[in-house]
């Protein structure tokens, strides 16, 4: 019997060896490599974060067009007040989806058409005087979207009475038409993007779960890191703080004409990028699923003896707290004490390194964008 067992053991040993030797991975090894479920992560992204985000924005843009209609029918100060509140609300919903520049959003240049700032007041006045405008032209990026509404609702005059007066009288029609076109274009673009997710793109997005330059995870990770680096860190904080110029540029803050809104928008964007990193479902404080965080934990990515995901989450927290110390108006903050803006920028920059270098390396994703060579 003993002898038999030895022979049997030897037999298994041989089988085990031969399996390994012939070069093909055992089933166990194969499962090991694909055990992180990229498809589950894509499903969480699409169904719990992205599509609900666009749904919220879509219904908010619908409300916006109603309030615009009210204001056009009766351009009064109280209707202006209501319109501003709705504009802020819709602008805030936009911050939750601006990072998802993929598919139809990429095709229609969603972010550039919704949120190019500083807006070009001279061009807006020219177009209003002219009476014809085509917002699909890229040269009109800085004359449409939320920043153009900011100018139309907050920047036309010194006070509310003066602003409202532009929409009254003989010239009022031209201003009303422009306001109506900008807000309806915001709604149309949002509907286009949401409809595309609902009519096939969601399934393509989830099915494209492999690992290659054109795969969903690789593409959206690039879009995410690009957004964090260029739109959030640079656009909302670094550029107005003068990080890339000789002097600070307070005229370049987001929500310039409303004056007290810039920090809210930046915090919303920061929350959105942090929530996406952690796979947090739309508008849910405690609903987490597969995400960059769980992917990095699965890969057991360690930096300087600590989990990379912990480092990134902690850095999001530090950035958020730093930003909360700023004035609600970044214009005021820059003029009073720009070094606090610069410190916020520095904290945001720390996560650029962790996301763009460490995380992307760990996930074996190549960066697909480079800094333009400037010509």
């Amino acid at each position: 019997m003993k002898k038999f067992l030895v022979v049997l053991a030897a037999f298994f040993l041989i089988i085990a060896c031969s399996k390994n030797d012939d070069g093909t991975p055992t089933q166990e090894q194969e499962e090991d490599e694909i055990a992180f479920n990229r498809e589950a992560m894509l499903i969480n992204w699409a169904d719990n974060i992205i599509v609900p985000g666009y749904e919220e924005l879509e219904s908010s843009t619908t409300a916006l067009t109603w309030v615009v209609t009210d204001f056009i029918d009766e351009p009064t100060e109280s209707n202006l007040f209501a319109l501003r509140l709705q504009w802020m609300d819709t602008y805030r919903s936009f911050q939750k989806v601006s990072l998802f520049e993929i598919g139809k959003a990429e095709e229609v240049r969603f972010r550039d058409r919704m949120n190019t700032y500083p807006t070009n007041a001279t061009e807006i006045q020219d177009l209003i005087a002219n009476g014809t405008y085509d917002f699909s032209l890229p040269s009109t990026n800085d004359a449409q979207g939320f920043p153009a509404l900011d100018y139309l609702l907050n920047g036309l005059g010194e006070d509310d009475a003066e602003i409202v007066s532009f929409y009254q009288g003989a010239n009022g029609v031209a201003y009303k038409n422009y306001l109506e076109s900008v807000s309806s274009s915001i709604k149309v673009l949002t509907t286009l993007v949401l409809d595309d997710w609902n009519n096939g793109f969601r399934d393509d997005f989830v099915a494209n779960s492999s690992s290659s330059a054109s795969a969903s995870v690789d593409k959206l990770t690039n879009d995410y890191v690009f957004y964090y680096e260029k739109s959030l860190r640079a656009g909302k904080v670094g550029i107005p703080a003068g990080v890339f110029s000789n002097n600070p540029l307070p005229g370049n803050v987001e929500g310039f004409y409303s004056e007290t809104f810039s920090r809210t928008l930046a915090l919303d964007a920061l929350n959105a990028t942090e929530g996406f990193f952690r796979g947090r479902a739309h508008n849910c404080i405690n609903c987490y699923d597969e995400s960059f965080e769980t992917y990095l934990d699965y890969l057991n990515t360690i930096k300087n003896g600590e989990d990379l995901s912990d480092l990134i989450i902690a850095q999001f927290e530090v950035s958020k707290n730093k930003m909360l110390e700023l004035q609600p108006s970044f214009i005021e903050q820059i003029e009073m004490n720009n070094s606090a803006m610069l410190q916020t920028y520095d904290e945001l920059q720390r996560n650029v390194i962790l996301l763009k270098v460490d995380m992307m390396q760990a996930l074996s994703i190549n960066i697909d964008y480079v800094d333009a060579d400037g010509d």
Partner: protein, 407 residues
Amino acid sequence: MKKIFITAIIASAALTSCSSDDDGGVAISENVEAPATYNFERGGNSTVSFSGQTTRILMAEEVLEAFKDFDNTTEASLQSMFAHVQGADDFSNADLNDSDKSIRSKTAASKDFFGANATEAAQIKNTFDGYISTQINEVFPNQNVLAAPGVAGQIADGSSVRYVTEKGLEMNQTFAKGLIGALMADQMLNNYLSTAVLDEADNRENNDADITETDKSYTTMEHKWDEAYGYLFGTSTNAANPLATIGEDDSFLNKYLGSVTNDPDFDGIATDIYNAFKLGRAAIVAKNYEVRDEQAAIIRQKVSEVLAIRSVYYLQNGKIAIENGAMGGAFHDLSEAYGFVYSLRFTRNNTDGMSFFSRSDVDSFINDMMNDGANGLWDITPATLDAISEAIAAEFSFTIAQAASAE
């Protein structure tokens, strides 16, 4: 016997190579030493002068601005900026208006390549005139039209806006990058660094005898060499020591030498060119024309490489943009590529004194780029871009991969 024989061969080979190296090195450069910076003086006065080149670079900068000034530029105004006549009110800078210099007169105007080739010179000048006319007559009227195959207009390139012809070309790019070859490189490599110009008439005798030009501190030969230098460093912040700001001082050769030298694959190429200019100029002062011509050969080779590297860089980046479906970005890159490829005609191959690429080589590259389909760059294929890149890189020692990435 065998051992002795082999030892003898090795020894003699070693001796031969040593002695020939030593002879070559010592004999030629023993009396020439390059100064730390491009500073040369005679009797306490600087002998360096290239104001005409600075003027033309500044004129060309204003031409580029005017190419995109939809509100103010006309075909006549742009054409007269290109072919400036002294006193005409063409530029915002009054000194340029007062100047008797013009860009067009020095376009495809080198002694070596076009001195006896007026036909091609006229053809090239007409090509640049055509860029102007296309911009004004085809692109300007469609300022507020979305570009499409067969329709000129504007197209997004990321957050930038590009204005293209019906075939997807940005004429300001073809003009600017074409001028780097037809003006800057041609004047430098095929005119001012040429023995036909440096040694013209009694330049050597005068230089040997330190006979300067009337009322000037420099000899004619010194000045010719400086004029070559001026087409690269004529608008540098510190023209005597220009490498600190390389790439930032113009929109033409300086800018793209900067781009290439910042690519680790070509690290040091700007220093090599600068050092060759310094040593060659010092050789003229030392009346050592052999060292001078060696340095001219280095500059010719390396400036030619810069044009070729940039051609491949933009062809390959255009290819990537097409593969990503980013047509606006692709058109921008490929319009730059078009201009750099056009500039290859003005490169200089030291082995035969001809261009690395003949007129017909360049024409067929351009033809290939624009004729994959009826709508030019809208139809261009990655295969075509690779084929042109390969044909260009084959003339040099760099690889497509080295040129394609700036990192």
